[in-house]
Structures are given as structure tokens and as C-alpha cells.
């Protein structure tokens, strides 16, 4: 295994970069979509229940099925990274809508009432008060979404774009357990680093929570 790794550092780094790109760009896009959707869901009990039901259902669709269906629906070419990134973004949205709702509802009513009473218009209040105060709960949701996205990218190897997942398939095909183990470990390390970075971002964005 070490011998293989020593000969293939370059490959592992290249695949790691690709892996992060495939995993995290969809998380970012998914978050940006989930925030307004989550806000809409907080506006009525009915919308909230409907959204939770619909996104719960979407999250339960097997990833492989989604990855295969996307090119058919979008008309993309067979090896286009979009085929993998769209499903990952969809999963992120499905996961994060609930987090956004929880995050927005974690803002105390008297803080929100005070903001309105001081003359904030709704949109400005959202960005100046509700959203920054939601960061701790949002980051918690984002950590789950990012880590699960990183682990899901490997599935893409089955359609030829899996970042480190390529090492799994190659290793399995060549019955070379070392390559497979390197792929698994590298994927775990990426997840761990991403998680730590998100925790740090959360800390930097919320100095008031540690006083």
C-alpha cells in the first residue's frame, strides 16, 4: 500500500482536488437555494409541513437512481460533472431546508419584534438580524450536508466521475486492496478537514456566542 502510495501521490492529490470540487460546489449552491426556501417555509404552518414532506421524500431517492436520471432529464453528456453535481445540490437543499427553518426559528421573538419596531424593512431585517443570528444552527446543518456530500461523490465513480471514488473502483477491479484503502482514507481525511474548516468559519462568524 505504501509502495503504491509513494508512486501515486500526484494522482491522489489530483483526485482529492476533483473530489472536493465535485462535493462542495453543490453544497454551496444548495445552501444558497435552501435559504430562501427555508424562509418561505417559516411563513406558514402549511408550507412548512409540505416542504418537510417533499424534501424528506427527495432525500430518500437512492443516489445512483438520481445520478442516472439527471442526464436524461437535463440532456447533458454522459461524463459531464453536472450529472453528479445536480443530484448532490438537490440532496443539500433537501437537508438544509430543515436546518434553515430551525435556524430562523432559533432567533428569539423579542429580538425579532425589537428589530421590526425599530423600523427594519423585512429584507434588511433578514440579512441584518435573522441570518447572522442563524449562523450557529446553519453551520451545524452545513457540516452534515458537506460531509455526506463528500462521501456521496464516490458513487459517481460508477458513472466515471467519482474523485477519489475512482480509486475504489480501480482497486476493486484489479483486486488491489491497497489502492482501495488509500481512497477510503483520503476521502475520510477530506471530510474531516472540511468539517474542521466549517467549524472555524462558524467560530469566526459568531464571536458573540463565546462571551
Amino acid at each position: 500500500m505504501t509502495a503504491w502510495l509513494n508512486a501515486h501521490w500526484g494522482l491522489v492529490f489530483r483526485l482529492s482536488g476533483e473530489h472536493l470540487y465535485l462535493a462542495l460546489i453543490p453544497v454551496l449552491i444548495g445552501l444558497v437555494i435552501a435559504i430562501p426556501l427555508g424562509w418561505v417555509a417559516t411563513q406558514s404552518r402549511f408550507l412548512r409541513a409540505t416542504f418537510f414532506y417533499v424534501f424528506g421524500f427527495i432525500y430518500s431517492i437512492p443516489s445512483l437512481a438520481l445520478i442516472i436520471v439527471v442526464p436524461v432529464v437535463l440532456g447533458t453528456r454522459i461524463l459531464d460533472p453536472i450529472n453528479l453535481m445536480v443530484p448532490l445540490a438537490v440532496y443539500t437543499v433537501a437537508l438544509m431546508v430543515r436546518s434553515v427553518v430551525d435556524a430562523l426559528e432559533s432567533v428569539p421573538w423579542h429580538v425579532r419584534a425589537a428589530a421590526t419596531a425599530m423600523g427594519f424593512r423585512p429584507l434588511r431585517r433578514f440579512f441584518a438580524v435573522d441570518l447572522p443570528m442563524s449562523v450557529p444552527v446553519l453551520i451545524a446543518g452545513l457540516r452534515v450536508a458537506a460531509v455526506s456530500s463528500i462521501s456521496l461523490v464516490s458513487v459517481g465513480a460508477l458513472i466515471g466521475l467519482g474523485g477519489l471514488g475512482d480509486l475504489f473502483t480501480e482497486g476493486a477491479q484489479e483486486s488491489f486492496i491497497g489502492e482501495l484503502v488509500v481512497g477510503v482514507i483520503a476521502s475520510l481525511v477530506l471530510a474531516l478537514i472540511t468539517d474542521i474548516v466549517l467549524v472555524l468559519i462558524g467560530r469566526l462568524a459568531t464571536p458573540w456566542t463565546r462571551v
Binding site: P108, H110, V111, A113, A114, A115, T116, A117, M118, G119, F120, R121, R124, V129, P132, M133, T206, P207, W208, V211
Partner: protein
């Protein structure tokens, strides 16, 4: 503190500034009925005087908070009109209207993610002032409400409840709005801190003369702070709207009488000046005198021990002096603690100079004589409960008490 009046209030609201900077608020047959049929406020008619404190008080479900929130359109009425200086508030854009009306909420409602200084600077920034100018103004206001400058860079969670509420008041004053709405602002702090905040509010109001609408469920707070008090009953009906002294002296019905409370006769004394009260003699002994000299100085069996500035420290009688040697000096440990003090100067505090504080001093004293002090706390003389009662009788016959 004079800066408070000198910034530009016109930037905050949509009304032009007016000398005194305060406004009349009129409720005309204002009703709030919810879709389920519940009536929160029922045909409320009242005029809130400019530059005074008007308190809405009543049991829960009486519509006091709803009435308050209709003034800045947090809630819109379903009937009637609310006018501010003759202008129907329904014709104003709510956010613009609100920037011209200070709002202090229960638990302060501070933004936990912003520093104290930025919390106070919120409304000036909303109205388009530069962040730097708004912060400079905010720093002045922290001083006005009695917070040290070192607090400016802290987050709200680092402050005590009382300090947070002061920041809440500073934030509401930041754009120098002529109207201030206070929604049970002091109910979440402990009684001693609450008393300090109430005194502070009265002190600020004496300088600023805002039109303040204050909501509370605490009748004592209403009586202490209100120039006028509106007592509301469940279902949002106005029961009585009067100055506190009149409310205590002649409640219109059983509901108001029971809401105002059992010892209202005693509390009404707080509104009667004790100016006519003659003070009696007291035997004063400096701390450190010998027990024998103190014993010789007892008058009617008691002497008051004072420090160099004539501040009363406590009482001594023959029994207590018998426990020490005649040549021994009188120490603080030996003293019998005294009762409340009666401050003669009426400007020294909320109940200072009133018959209530004179009577309480007499009743709470171990010697059955109250100690009267000047505004520096130095002894002036004694107060006798019987004298207080005859002063009360005199006030009755001269018509000073509303009947």
C-alpha cells in the same frame, strides 16, 4: 446630556421637529378584533398628552400591549383611528413611522450578535447616518443612561439584566424620537434593579420630556411612573384614565379599587407633600462618645448616633448602653439599626418629601420617632407619626386630597 436634544430628530420620523420634541397621541374609538372573534381592544378613546408619561396597566388579556403596538403599527386596528399630532398613522409607511418612535421591549430585545455600541447605533444607521456618526452618538447615549464607556465594545450577553435594559433605553433614544413606547421594560429584572431603572427613567424624562407610553401589569410601577394611568379591564375596555393620586383616591368601580390594591390609602400619601410638617428635636451623639455621656444625653429614652457629617448611624437606649462599661466608647456594633429615613427635599427621589415617606420613617423606627434628613443625608430632626396624621387631616380639609 444636553446632546440628546441637539441632534436632528427630523431625520428619524416623517414629521418635522417641534419645540419640546414631543407629540400628542389620540386613540379614537380604536378596536382590535381578531379573525376568531376575540376582541383585544374595545372602542378605546383616550388622549396621550405630549411630553408626559402615560401608563397602560391592567390584568393579562386587557389589551394593554396590543394598544401600545398599534401606535407603531406592529398591529393594525380593525376599527377607529390613531392620530399622532393630528395625523392618521395609517397614512404612514410603517418602517418610516417606527424609526420616529422609540421602542423598548421586555428583556431589552438587544441584538446578541452586535456590540452594545452597534446596538445603540441601529436606528441612526437605518435612517441613513454614517456608521461613524451613529457610533459617536451612541457613545454619548451610553453615558446618558449611566453606562460606563468600557461597555461599548461588549456583547449584550456580557451585561446584567439591568444593564441590558439601560442599553435598550439608549437604543430607543438614539434617533431622538419624540415618542417612546415601553412594553413592560422592567418586568424581567429583580426588584432592586427595577427601582433603580424607574428612578433613572424619571430622571431622564425630566430632561428629555418625551411622550412616553408605558405598559405594565404592576400597579405600583404605574403609580410611580405615570403622569396619567389608564386602567384597562379584560376584553380591552378602558376602566379609568386619571392621574395616579386620583386613581388611588377615587377609583371609579370595584374592579379599579381591587386592582389598585388594599393599601391604596397609605400609598396615596406618597402624593401629598409633607411641607407643613414640623420637625421635632432629637438627641444626637457623635460616634465614639463614651457610654456614660450617651446615657446622660438620652431624650425620651433614646439617642441617635451620628458620624462627622451628621449622617444617622443608629439608635441607642438605656438597655443597650447597660451592656457595656460606662467609660467604653460607643461603636457601630452596639447600635440598634434604624428605620427608613425621611428625606425632606422633595426633589431628592420619587417619594422624598411626601407624607408617605415621613409616616414610614416614624413607623419603622425602633424609637417610634422617624429621622428626617436633608438631601445630603444629614439629620434635620424627628418625625412623629401623630404629626403626620394631623398633617393628613389638614390636607383633607384644605381640599388637597381629591375626593
Amino acid at each position: 446630556m444636553s446632546q440628546v436634544g441637539s441632534c436632528e430628530p427630523a431625520a428619524a420620523g416623517e414629521w418635522p421637529s417641534r419645540p419640546g420634541g414631543s407629540r400628542v397621541i389620540e386613540f379614537q374609538a380604536v378596536t382590535k378584533q381578531y379573525p376568531d372573534g376575540t376582541i383585544a381592544v374595545n372602542k378605546l378613546d383616550l388622549t396621550i398628552e405630549a411630553g408626559r408619561i402615560t401608563v397602560f396597566v391592567g390584568p393579562s388579556g386587557c389589551g394593554k400591549t396590543t394598544s401600545l403596538r398599534m401606535i407603531n403599527r406592529m398591529i393594525d386596528p380593525t376599527g377607529g383611528r390613531i392620530l399622532i399630532d393630528g395625523k392618521d398613522i395609517m397614512k404612514s409607511d410603517p418602517p418610516v413611522l417606527r424609526r420616529g418612535i422609540g421602542y423598548v421591549i421586555q428583556q431589552a430585545g438587544l441584538f446578541p450578535h452586535r456590540t452594545v455600541l452597534d446596538n445603540v447605533a441601529t436606528v441612526p444607521v437605518l435612517t441613513g447616518q454614517s456608521r461613524r456618526a451613529a457610533r459617536a452618538r451612541a457613545a454619548e447615549l451610553l453615558e446618558t443612561v449611566g453606562l460606563p464607556a468600557g461597555m461599548a465594545s461588549r456583547y449584550p450577553a456580557q451585561l446584567s439584566g439591568g444593564q441590558q435594559q439601560r442599553v435598550g433605553v439608549a437604543r430607543a433614544l438614539a434617533a431622538d424620537p419624540p415618542v417612546l413606547l415601553m412594553d413592560e421594560p422592567f418586568s424581567a429584572v429583580d426588584p432592586i434593579v427595577r427601582e433603580g431603572l424607574q428612578e433613572e427613567l424619571l430622571r431622564l424624562q425630566a430632561e428629555l420630556a418625551k411622550t412616553i407610553v408605558f405598559v405594565t401589569h404592576d400597579i405600583d410601577e404605574a403609580i410611580k411612573l405615570g403622569d396619567k394611568v389608564a386602567v384597562l379591564r379584560t376584553g380591552g375596555v378602558l376602566a379609568q384614565f386619571d392621574p395616579p393620586a386620583a386613581l388611588l383616591a377615587r377609583p371609579v368601580d370595584d374592579f379599579v379599587a381591587s386592582f389598585v390594591g388594599r393599601d391604596r390609602g397609605y400609598r396615596a400619601l406618597g402624593f401629598l407633600a409633607a411641607a407643613g410638617l414640623t420637625l421635632g428635636e432629637l438627641s444626637l451623639v457623635p460616634l465614639g462618645s463614651t457610654a456614660a455621656n450617651t446615657k446622660a444625653a438620652l431624650a425620651d429614652g433614646w439617642a441617635v448616633v451620628v458620624d462627622e457629617a451628621r449622617h444617622p448611624l443608629g439608635w441607642l437606649n438605656a438597655d443597650r448602653l447597660a451592656t457595656v462599661d460606662g467609660a467604653a466608647a460607643v461603636t457601630e456594633e452596639l447600635l440598634i439599626r434604624g428605620g427608613s429615613l425621611y428625606t425632606v427635599d422633595a426633589n431628592a427621589g420619587i417619594t422624598a418629601g411626601s407624607l408617605r415617606s415621613a409616616l414610614d420613617a416614624a413607623l419603622s423606627s425602633p424609637a417610634a420617632l422617624g429621622i428626617a434628613v436633608d438631601s445630603d443625608g444629614a439629620v434635620l430632626g424627628s418625625v412623629d407619626a401623630a404629626d403626620v396624621l394631623s398633617a393628613l387631616a389638614k390636607a383633607r380639609t384644605s381640599g388637597e386630597i381629591p375626593i
